[in-house]
Symmetry: C3
Subunit: 491 residues, 3 copies
């Protein structure tokens, strides 16, 4: 029906959840039997599109991830909601575009008292409400003050660090931290602070990636002992800077000449080793068949820091594909057929409603979600977001980079240049601007994104103070300039 089609494209994929919960047709039988699957969501940090074996990497080996990919489904076009860590993670946890909740910037460094509030119920809380044992391991980056702690957001267990990254070697960061404490300082860089377990300082002794893998295994064991389904958010900080790898892992990549790339590869390899360990433990515990494993990155690989996003254009921070399209796999022996690639676009924003549906969780009343449950589309191998919009928007100093994808088309405004139009289905590297050929489509897409932008919230924080000052001085977001198309045509 025409009218419905129009509305559905306009409001993109906004789902306003009612208290009745989300139902997943494909899984109705299992849920009826009360058999909630485990969900293991593994998030890498700044991992490039081409930096895992299952996406074609020539120089980095990721045997354990590749095995999961081979037995599961690989996604060609998985998009996160923002090309930076903090906003991307806020989106995954809340199911909202970060711009809709004022979280479109990374949190200020260090020890800030701002964060993503519990007004937006996190996926962990939703799963916990449905009976899940919930855990987060690794990097948080959604608020360092007590009220923003993972334990306040529905995670029964948290092991890791609250900032946006961390030094990988305990012997290094412990020494540096103690030195500053001895000087009487208190506002110490978050990359150096001790790790914590549920708010209590712990003394980590392993290379951080290995420590997190170890804790994930412990968590899986606990869940098994409890006979509770688990939801585990395993957020490795690797291969985010600082580039620090173990000698043994570096030894695997002697063939890589570039030192940064070599270190980066070794860091990814350590992540892959951790994945292997956890998979082994799932098997040992008899949970392997009944666990949905999802793996992706929080944003594109950072250029100049060892990553490779080929064949995508640009990298972390960009609204070109290299900024926010990431490697992704799903693995679930019970339900997912082995060896498929899924070419249709899917969103990190879809994870919240999809996990909730799979776990039989009810959504909080009035909860708005910007993605959708993709499970039925995935099972049917159809596009979950046909005719719908996928947006990416990064604010810079006095202007914004913006892009909107709908079906094969992607409209892009980058580096303060004019809007361009690409057919990303055929032109994944965004090389051929076809805006002159389809001016009406470009204008239509841009004006739709402008409509989308109207209820964006002002940022609740900025990464740096001067960024906030310039935001105000330049009367940002200046969407009048962002959504201006050169040729004011026939609309």
């Amino acid at each position: 029906m025409r009218f419905n089609r129009k509305i559905s494209t306009l409001i993109s994929v906004v789902i306003v959840a009612m208290s009745t919960g989300v139902s997943s047709c494909a899984l109705a039988t299992e849920k009826a039997a009360g058999e909630q699957p485990n969900i293991l969501f593994i998030l890498a940090d700044d991992l490039g599109y081409n930096d895992v074996g299952f996406n074609g990497s020539k120089d980095i080996s990721t045997p354990n991830l590749d095995a999961l990919a081979k037995q599961g489904v690989t996604f060609d076009a998985a998009y996160v909601a923002h090309p930076f860590c903090g906003p991307s993670r806020a989106a995954i946890m809340t199911g909202r575009y970060p711009h809709k909740i004022g979280a479109q910037f990374n949190l200020p460094e260090d020890n800030s008292n701002v964060g993503v509030s519990a007004d937006e119920t996190f996926i962990a809380q939703t799963m916990k409400n449905a009976g899940y044992f919930t855990g987060a391991m690794g990097k948080w980056h959604l608020g360092e003050a007590p009220q923003y702690h993972p334990n306040k957001h529905g995670f029964d267990e948290f092991y890791g660090f609250l900032g946006g990254g961390h030094n990988y070697f305990p012997e290094e960061f412990e020494k540096a931290y103690n030195k500053r404490v001895a000087q009487g300082l208190t506002n110490i860089n978050m990359y150096l602070t001790p790790l914590e377990h549920n708010g209590k300082e712990v003394r980590e002794t392993e290379y951080i990636t290995d420590g997190l893998s170890r804790e994930a295994v412990t968590f899986v064991d606990k869940a098994t002992a409890k006979q509770q389904p688990f939801f585990l958010y395993l957020a490795y900080n690797a291969p985010h800077v600082p580039l620090q790898a173990k000698e043994d892992d570096l030894a695997q990549f002697r063939h890589i000449k570039d030192k940064k790339r070599r270190t980066y590869a070794a860091m990814v390899y350590a992540v892959d080793r951790g994945v292997g360990r956890i998979v082994s433990q799932l098997k040992a515990n008899g949970q392997y068949e009944n666990t949905l494993i999802v793996f992706m990155s929080d944003n594109g690989g950072k250029l100049g820091q060892g990553a490779n996003n080929y064949p995508l254009k640009e990298g972390k921070g960009s609204v070109q594909e290299g900024g926010f399209r990431t490697p992704m796999l799903m693995h679930w022996p019970k339900h997912i057929k082995a060896g498929n690639r899924f070419a249709h676009p899917v969103l990190a924003l879809d994870l919240y409603p999809t996990f909730a549906a799979i776990g039989g969780a009810s959504l909080p009343e009035g909860k708005i979600l910007d993605g959708k449950n993709i499970w039925p589309s995935l099972m049917a191998n159809v596009a979950p977001h046909e005719n719908e919009f996928i947006y990416v928007l990064r604010h810079r100093d006095g202007y914004s980079d913006a892009a909107a994808r709908r079906n094969q088309y992607k409209a892009v405004k980058n580096h303060n240049q004019n809007w361009k139009l690409f057919n990303v289905a055929q032109d994944i590297s965004e090389e051929n601007d076809i805006s002159a050929k389809h001016p009406a489509i470009l204008r239509d897409m841009v004006s739709s994104m402008e409509s989308w932008s109207w209820n964006n919230q002002q940022p609740k924080w900025f990464h740096r103070s001067d960024e906030g000052a310039r935001w105000r001085l330049k009367a940002m977001p200046r969407f009048d300039k962002t959504f201006q198309v050169d040729d004011h045509g026939t609309k």
Copy 2:
């Protein structure tokens, strides 16, 4: 008592409603008997002060409205809360000055995702809670996204369109709409989209004004069948642009030379015909005696588009009388004596509390209303707003037009000129500035309006993106300039 007088003028007519409801002495007997009257509120769009027979129009005939006026009461000084459609309607629906709820601009075009939230309980919801069958027919203009739909705001029935206006001829807009859909466009101008009934697309076949009158009759019939009192908000988009009239109606106005005026007159005539049809149906259904009919416009007539606001100064968009004083009548055989004119100022903001009182409705706890129940004053023929302030405020590009009326005096700051003072009781055309004669009164009025302005909200949207950007660049609202009186005197 001095103190009370002071407070009452200061806070103007703010009523904070308690859960005990509003009581109307004059109607206590009726309500005790459980006999709630029907309320039919008809709102014209951009109708000029002098464009109905009952206000003295020489060239436009409105026989049905005139008959209601003759048997009812006509208001000489009925003021809406803003000289533009969107903010004026937001005020009527919520009972709040639009500046108090961030709704002081028209919504952005088209298909925006912003709107007036249900945090401010709409009059429809209040009436519905009191047992009314509620309907809205016509133009909405308070939000196009699902959460702002009339059905989410207490209207059982909605028939019409969500935008700020519409093409009047189905054969025209249907064709234009289909063409754009065929081009693959989705963000299509709201003046062209199909009409809807309770969220479902319908295929309207009549001239829009006639279609809305037809649906109003249907609604009245439904209510009669249900034996429920009804609250009907009939919001004709006529005679708002585009100026489009039926040939038959145009034929009635061959005496008008000016083509725009002729078309405008024919559009008003079609509205009048609709009013006649509904009145006939009320009589046929035995509801005529027990229905309060209120008719007014959402703001003044638009100069250059066929309207005539004589003897008022300026028109739509202005803080002079022509911008926000509109024709108004009330008709209710049971209670209103025929043939009266009411000279005291009344407000569109008074409709909410007056309707609630007449219908015996309780107000939501904590609900703030900026108007008051005028029924007792109307029955007693006394000024409902003696010593109280009536404000109008329109933000422009870097400055604001503002005016405040108290009793006979009106302080006006227009077109960025100095504040002037008029005695609008004697000088309805605002020709004689008496500020030099009463500087203390002017300063007192302006400083009262400044106090009123302090808890205005920042706009939640702008009509155009560049308007919002300039708002921020120019540090609007710049009330320091708005409320500056030249001669800083003795206060």
Copy 3:
């Protein structure tokens, strides 16, 4: 434990109250017996550090206050949360830094419709919930519109005036007020309006300070008659301008040559006389032993208006010690030993949690408090805020004055100059900048204050409209400049 130490200093003294209430070990026995003490909190207005006998004044005699000090404890380093009246009082009433609730400016003059909302439960409401009979006498200055009235904030009784100050002589202000009313004016200066009792105008006939003392005595009698514990907030407007004293009181200070100082001294003397009267009445009613009396000022003395803050630097409005360190005493025969001086810093922000603890009151769920219950530390004579931060921040025209104290150190940025560091434990007059000696400590303190600033709210009002306009034009708060330390060092 290192980690806890770090967190505690970072978050300063933020206490998130749970519904379980605050417990005070020292008082457990009393509360168990259900014997809640009376609390009499007396707040002077703009009283200088050196303007009471118990702080060493040579020319002003305050025999009644000195007697309380002698039998109680005197605080050397009592800090209010802001060097201006309105924000300081907002902090005392809510337990929050005014910057955290948008109350960092004085309210606009006059008759504004903004104020401190009840979203932040006031201490009076908390005490009332615990069974206290609550009263406020004197200056309110937290909102003049009905919803901000003391009676809406938990005060059973209010006698006084709502604005930020008042003329002291009824014969003067009554005449001036009546003259303006006769002119038809309504927006009359709040210094001239009649006083009120629970929202009803009253005709005060005494010198205001004496009138407030009289009403306090009446309140104490009422509480005694009710056999209820009382919480009385006695907010004298003296010795705030206008400088107006009674002839009899002036006669006591013929030795003071300077007319302003003489008048100021007489005004303080009248306050002291009132304190004496209330103490007498407490004794007469048998409540003396069981009443905690706290006396302090809302900010430092105003230079040029008769005050003396020696040995502190600067005065009202400053982030130097003279701006926000005030005289303070506590007196409670039952619990406080006579004659002590308490050298450790305490905060006006501590009053809320301390009063709540002493009165056995539960805190509202989720209530955040920026201070802490200092009772246990007071009893043990240890520093309640060891290693914690005390902040003061005043926004000016395009920049901010800021200071942070931690233990003996105070970092100060004043008059748009570079940050300085003082050892205020040894150098109370802030004369020796030691920033060059301790650059790492200075940087650490400033960066902590920057972290603290991130969740400050935008001001909900400004004292004057042009102040708000300039705030926006200059993209305030410009914390990027405020928290810039010259030497960007080793952090």
